[in-house]
Every structure is written in structure tokens, then in C-alpha cells.
């Protein structure tokens, strides 16, 4: 248990170095070590998606990833993706459509949605629902979330054509 190692990685564009226990999960590292509390913990067993963050451009579950696995990698969380503006369109659409209630699932939803918006510009409602199937939301019933993401996709498709 006392065994620790030094971890160096880039989080939201900033290089950080910390001493961590090998058993520390990425989500705990982000929240407890770095104070990045935007990503949440819902189940700690990979089912709910509340802890979804991006590692080297790919979305992962922060509760199933060990911090030490991220050595040398680039981690992006909702805080960084908000500040960089990458999430701005989705955030606006979520806000206007009330695609969140308590907001606890929202950071994970947004990071998962961003992944879809970037990788599948032609995604249908069905595909949106499928893609979000690993992200639990108890409040909304999902429809508003699907609507908001669809709005962004439609908007981007229009932009792309123009």
C-alpha cells in the first residue's frame, strides 16, 4: 500500500506531476489530487458513465482507468473542454433544451456526446441513443439530451454544407 510512483501527464493542457499510489483511479486522481471535481463518480464499476473523461482523444471511464496508466498522456475533463470552447455548442444546446436537471450526469454526458459529434457527424437519433447507452441519467428520461445533441449535429451539418 505504501508503494507509490511519480506520475507525469498533461491535464487540460497543463503538465502536472504527482506522487500517486498505483491503485488510485484516474477519477480519484483528478478529483482529489487536482481538485477537478467536474467529473463525477456514480458507480465506480464502469456502468454509469458519470466519470467519462478523454485520454489522448479517446473517451474512457475514469473509474476503470488507473491514474498511472495515463503516464505521459493528455487528459481532458469537462473543465478544460469548457474553457477551450470545445463543448460550447453542446453546452448551449443542453441549456436551451433543458437537457439536464440535477446536472450530476451532465459532464459525462457532454464528454460522451462530444465524442459522437466529432466522430459521427451524420448520427441519427437512434445512434445518439445507442451512443449514450453507457451514460445513466435518472432525471431527464434522456429525450431532452437526445434532442440537444441532435440539434448540434443538424447545426454542424448545415454549417458544413454552407
Amino acid at each position: 500500500m505504501d508503494h507509490t510512483s511519480t506520475l507525469t501527464l498533461t491535464v487540460n493542457g497543463t503538465k502536472v506531476s504527482r506522487t500517486v499510489q498505483p491503485r488510485t483511479h484516474l477519477i480519484d486522481f483528478l478529483r482529489d489530487e487536482l481538485g477537478l471535481t467536474g467529473s463525477h463518480i456514480g458507480c465506480e464499476h464502469g456502468v454509469c458513465g458519470a466519470c467519462t473523461v478523454r485520454v489522448d482523444g479517446t473517451i474512457v471511464r475514469g473509474c476503470l482507468t488507473l491514474a498511472v496508466q495515463c503516464e505521459g498522456k493528455a487528459v481532458d475533463t469537462v473543465e478544460g473542454l469548457s474553457d477551450s470552447g470545445e463543448l460550447a455548442q453542446l453546452q448551449q444546446a443542453f441549456h436551451e433544451r433543458n437537457a439536464l436537471q440535477c446536472g450530476y450526469c451532465t459532464p459525462g454526458m457532454l464528454v460522451a456526446a462530444l465524442d459522437l459529434v466529432k466522430s459521427e457527424p451524420d448520427a441519427t437519433r437512434e445512434r445518439i441513443r445507442e451512443h449514450l447507452s453507457g451514460n445513466y441519467c435518472r432525471c431527464t428520461g434522456y429525450q431532452a439530451i437526445v434532442d440537444a445533441i441532435e440539434t448540434v449535429l443538424v447545426h454542424r451539418r448545415k454549417e458544413a454544407r454552407a
Binding site: 464499476h45 440535477c102 446536472g103 445513466y136 435518472r138 428520461g141
Partner: protein, 800 residues
Amino acid sequence: MTARDELPVKGSKTRTQAGYIGKAEPRANAKRLLQGRGSFIDDLRFPRLAQVVFLRSPHAHAKIRKLDFSKARTAPGVIAVVDGRAVAEYCTPWVGVLSHLKGLKSAPQFPIAIDRACWQGEAVAAVVAETRAQAEDACELIVAEYDPLPAVIDMHEALAGRHVIHPDLGDNICFNREVDFGAVEAAFAKADVVVEESYSFGRHTGVCLEGRAILADYNAAEHTLTVHHATQAPHMMQDIFSKHLNIPEANVRVICRDIGGAYGIKVHVYPDEMCTAALSIMLRRPVKFVADRMESFLSDIHAREHKVKVRLAATKAGEILAFDLDDLTAIGPYSVYPRTSGIEGNQVVNLTGGPYKHQNYRAKLNVVFTNKNVTCQYRAVGHPIAVALTEGIVDLAAQKLGMDPAEFRRRNLVPDDAYPYTGAAGMKFELLSHHQCLDKLLALMDYKALRAEQAELRKKGVYRGIGLAAMIEVTNPSPAFYGVGGARISAQDGATLRLEPTGMLTVLSSVTEQGQGTEGIFAQIAATAVGVTMDKVKVITGDTSTTPYGGGTWASRGAGIGGEAVLQAGKALRSNILDIAAAILSVDKATLDVYNNEIIDAASGASRLPLAELGRVAYFRPDTLPMKFQSELMVTRHYTPREYGFTFTNGIQASLVEIHPDTGFVKLLKHWCVEDCGTVINPMLVDEQIRGGVVQGIGGALFEECHYSEDGQLLNASMADYLVPMSGEMPDIVCGHVESPTKSSELGAKGVGEAGTAGAPGAVMNAINDALAPLNARVNSMPFTPERILDALGAANAKG
């Protein structure tokens, strides 16, 4: 002028800011959550913060023979390891009873079990350490030995009472109630058609994405306790902390910032949370507890474990004559404090048959103790059961009469012009709109076309079903709900409005926010009432030391009760603003109005004075005002519903499903809900409350059940094993509204937060049975898993 004429909140003929009521305004407070900048309890950082974890009983019922903490106490980072006796020195026990639920009984409950554990998951020891990981490591070092006791798991066993869980209580019956209105026997005797069916409802739970969470911070120097708490009812908790921890009420402050879902789960007193507060006092430092997922399944209240037999009597012509009900429900080993676990069953008795005009009704209810986790009020409390069994038996009667289910309902729903009306169960309805809702629903879904399509598809071997569920719903509860039974739970709420020097408006409300949009609609009401634009309004909730006293958020009461208080405070503030304006401008108050952040001339609409200027004068240059004039730019008003015990709402839902007879899978194709919640303050938020509620109801109908083994082990305490609705399986939900404002308040708003959950399970059940009807199969045990549907199909086949 009457109050209503002075400030019509809708359809204003004056220039008063009427614009925000009824508008789909996005919620300002959602922005921080969208950027991950909310502050949930586990996000808070405190100096000297310690974390507590609990050792929980692995047995459903056992004597605690031995607890050896010696190894745990010396583990790294450990601050304290305590048992029930140690914590009881700091926190008195409680008993969850209410005097108006006559005869309801329960046993004293302690923060940590003393000598005996009564369900698997009850805390038997607590470990406090510098970090959670350290506390968890140390928890594993506790040596605990138990002598298992006979566990009462089955509710019939509990009723039979071979083993009595709390010997002092004499039996396992927490509460029973029998009602008999009209002439039930005679009605059944003369009926042309009698149908009878039994329904069972799986025990399920709320699965808030954020686990229960509390951070208690005791200041020994001041003898004050500040509790950051994920609770729906901060003033109730202030009272309870004060009473059981022996700290003067004014020294207890409960703060609720962001809360990751609640739905009734976070409105109860939990032993581990009381323990956390006690530990903060004992250790004189801040202590935090956040339930992990397994603890949530084991210790968040469960709900809805009912077995119900229901009978319905009708005439050939399709008139319902009577309902007869026998409900048995099991609540775990304790009635939950302070709301009790008798309410759910009581609601089933009060609500069954509620939409219909029969006048004969009999019901019997038994609420029994078992050695499973406790149950208590969870979103829609009793409604999903009452609606499903009412609507299930109504459909069965329609089937037996060969009548279309929509038509059968039309003949029996209480007419829209019959109000005020008292139902067979004695509930008083001010104004409902069952027929308007039914008509609207049938049009919205194009019922006829769907029936035609269903018939066509059946010929092709596609089994679709359409299910309807009419409902009534308890909202805006008066003190009759809890207060009269002795619970120190406020039925009243308050709002304070303050005009700031720059013309901004601060609103403080005793209602809390868990994402419903309370703060958003209060901003809409306040802006409307005072005459400012929404961007000028800031709403603050969830702090006992700053907001007015009130009940908080539960039982669909926030908009109707808290909203009315905001409206009344807003009107009073507007009047005060006009007094100041009249003084500044030396004109008659009656010639002025407030509109768009300005004082205007009421007749011409000409701008006279910006509110920012009025604020500047009132706060910084009162010397320029007439000698005896004192401005009052802060106003508080309260509101308590009094005329009716509850402001009932009504609505109707429909579900369209497709069944795959080979696999037993149910595909939800679409869902509709038409609801009458009176004045709709924000249609978008209302619809999203309904949609979220519907999906929660669907969860109970199709997926969710806490499975217990015969010896009381919860078998599926993880999100991998306990299925919840995910986006892929959920249908789109179409919402419609009828608006019959309540006259008991000026705002006219009734509650809506639980409507979706109330009606969805019944609608889905009826749709499934409608799809199964040509196969001669029927299901009546929720959740309707593929296995249960296949079983029903198998039984139908066996019968040939």
C-alpha cells in the same frame, strides 16, 4: 380591485411584466452544472476534513456478538473507530411514527446498530480516517462476529408472525387500516360483471446518480453545527439535528448546494448520516460521508413492495359500481423517521379508483416489518401502485364487457363539471379535468389510427399493445399530510425578495432545488410580479440560515406552495417600490407602475425612473426623501395551502409497446402523457419533469427490482445487476396539457414532479397485456421482465 385583478399573472391587460409565466425559459442555474462547476457535497474541500465509512451487517438479522477494533484503530490515518454505543452518547434514538396514522408503531432506531442488526447493510461500526481509502482499509481490519437470528423476509411470513422482529411490539404489523364507504357488498351482489386480479410490485429504489452525502462541521468553540447535506428538506433536518444531537436550533445550519438527484430518496433521516453529524461533534472536526453505490443499494430507502388483490364490480352497460382492495406491503425492520413508512400504503388506500365516479369502496391495508432494507416515500409514493392496479382491473373489466378501454373510461371518469367533488375514498377534489385530458390524449396519439394499425399488424404476427392509465395525484400538501400527525415538517414555505441598489432582485426561498427548475421558475414568478427582466433576478435556496423557514421539496409542492410565496412577496415588494417612486417623483403612487426594470407612468407607459436610480436613492441618499419616509426594499411572504388537504391534479398516460413472443422482450415504441397541473409556469420544465418521471416509472414497470435471497441477502446491489432505464431502450414521450388552475392560490399552480412516475407503470402494464391478449396471456407482477412474459406465454400455451 381584487388581488387577482391587480396582478393577473396570465393574459395581462396591464403593462405589468406578465411575460415570464408560461414561457420556456432556460434555467440560469444550469450553466455551472454544464461546465462541471457545480458544488456537490463530495466536491467541497475543508481543512481537517475526515471521512467516515461504515462496516455493515452481512446478515439480515443477527446478534452482534463481538466487535474487535484493535487492529483497525492502529491502521494508517485512522482517527476513530466506534460502535453503536459510543455514537449513542452523542445522538438520541428516534421512532418513526405519526399520530394520525392510528396505531402505527415502530421501534427505536440508533445511528449505528446496538447489539443487533436488523437488515443486511445496517451499519454496525464506523471508521473515521484522514482519507476514504484509509478508512476503507481499516474497516477491513475490524473483527466482527455475529449470531444469526431468524430473518423474516417474506411479507406473508411477517404477517403470520412466527418470528417477531421487535418482540416489544408484539407482532410484525407496523400499521393497518380498513375503510368501507358506500355499500360495497350490495354493489358486488347486484353487479353484472365482477373481475378480480392480484398484482405484485417489485421492491425498487431511487438510484440517484450521486450517492447520499453529508459533510458535518462542528465548531466546539461556538457549539454550532454546520451541515452540508444532500437533502430535500433542510429545515426539517435542522430541527432533527438540533433535537437528536442536543444543539440549539439556531446553532444548526443546514446548507444544500447542488444535489445529484433526490426523488424522495434524500428527504429521510438516515442512521449513517446522523452518525456522521454525531462523529463531527465527538471528534470536533468536519466529517464527511458519501454513500458508494453498494451502500446506496443497501441503505437508501427502497419502495413499492406490495402484493394487492383488487376486485371491481360493474354493470352490463359499463358502469363501475365498486372497488374492493386488499393491500399487503413490507417496509423493512423500521418505519422511517420522521415521515414513517405507513404513507405509501395509506396512499394506495386513498387513491385507488380515484379517477372514477363509483361511490362504493372498500380497502384493507397491512404494512408489515421484514428483515430487508427499509422502505419509505420515493417519487410518486403509492401512486404507481394505486394507478396500476386501478387501471389494470379497469382494463380487465372492459375486456370482459367487450368494451373499448378508452370508451369504458369515458363512461366512468368523474365528469369535468362535477367539481368540487368527493371521491368514493373520501378524497376532496377542487377541480379536475379527466375528460378533457382523455380527449386530448386520444387526439394526440391518434388512438383510432393506432388501433387500426394494431389490428393490421396482428394479422402479420406483430404483437402491439396500447395501454391507458388515468390518474389523480396528490400535490401541494397541507399540514394534513405530516404536521397534524406530530411531525415537525413545515407545510408552509416562504420567500424573501430584496431589491438591490442596482435594481437587481434577490430571491430567497425555503424550497430547495435538485434540478427540477425551482430556482428558474421562482425567477420567472419574481420577475413577473415585481416588473423586472429575468437577467436581474438571482435566486438563493438551500440554506437554513438565510432563507425563510419552510418545508423544502417533496410531494410536488415546490411550484404550488413556494411559487405562491414568491408571487405574494413580489407583489408586496412592487407596492413598496412604488411607494418610494411616488416619494421621489412626488406623484400619486396609483399613477405609476414597474415595468422592464423601470418606474413608468401607468397611463402612458413613459419611462419615469430606472430601478437602479430608485435603489441608489433608497439605499444611499435616503436623506433626500420626505422626513418620515422609510423605504422597505426587502419583503417576506409565506404561503400554506389550507382549503384542501391536497391540491389534486389529474392526467392520463398512454403507452405503445411491441412484444416479441419468442424472447419475451418488450419494445417501448412511444409514450404519451396529458397532465393538468394548473398554471404552467414553464412548459419546458414541466414537460421535462414529466418525461423524467415517466422513465422512472418505466424503470419500475420493466427493469427495476431489489432481489433478496431467502435469507435476506440483496443479490443485485450494483448497477451492473440492478437494471435501470438507459437511453437506448427509452421511447420518445409526447406531452400535452390541460390547465385548470387551483383557486386556492393566486398563482394557480399545482404540482407536476411525480405525475410521470405515477402513471407510467400502469400504462405500460396495460399495453403489454393488450399486446398479449390475442395470445391469451396476462402479466401482473412488476417488473415485467422477459422471463415473466415468457412464463405467462408458456402458461397460456399449456392451457392450450
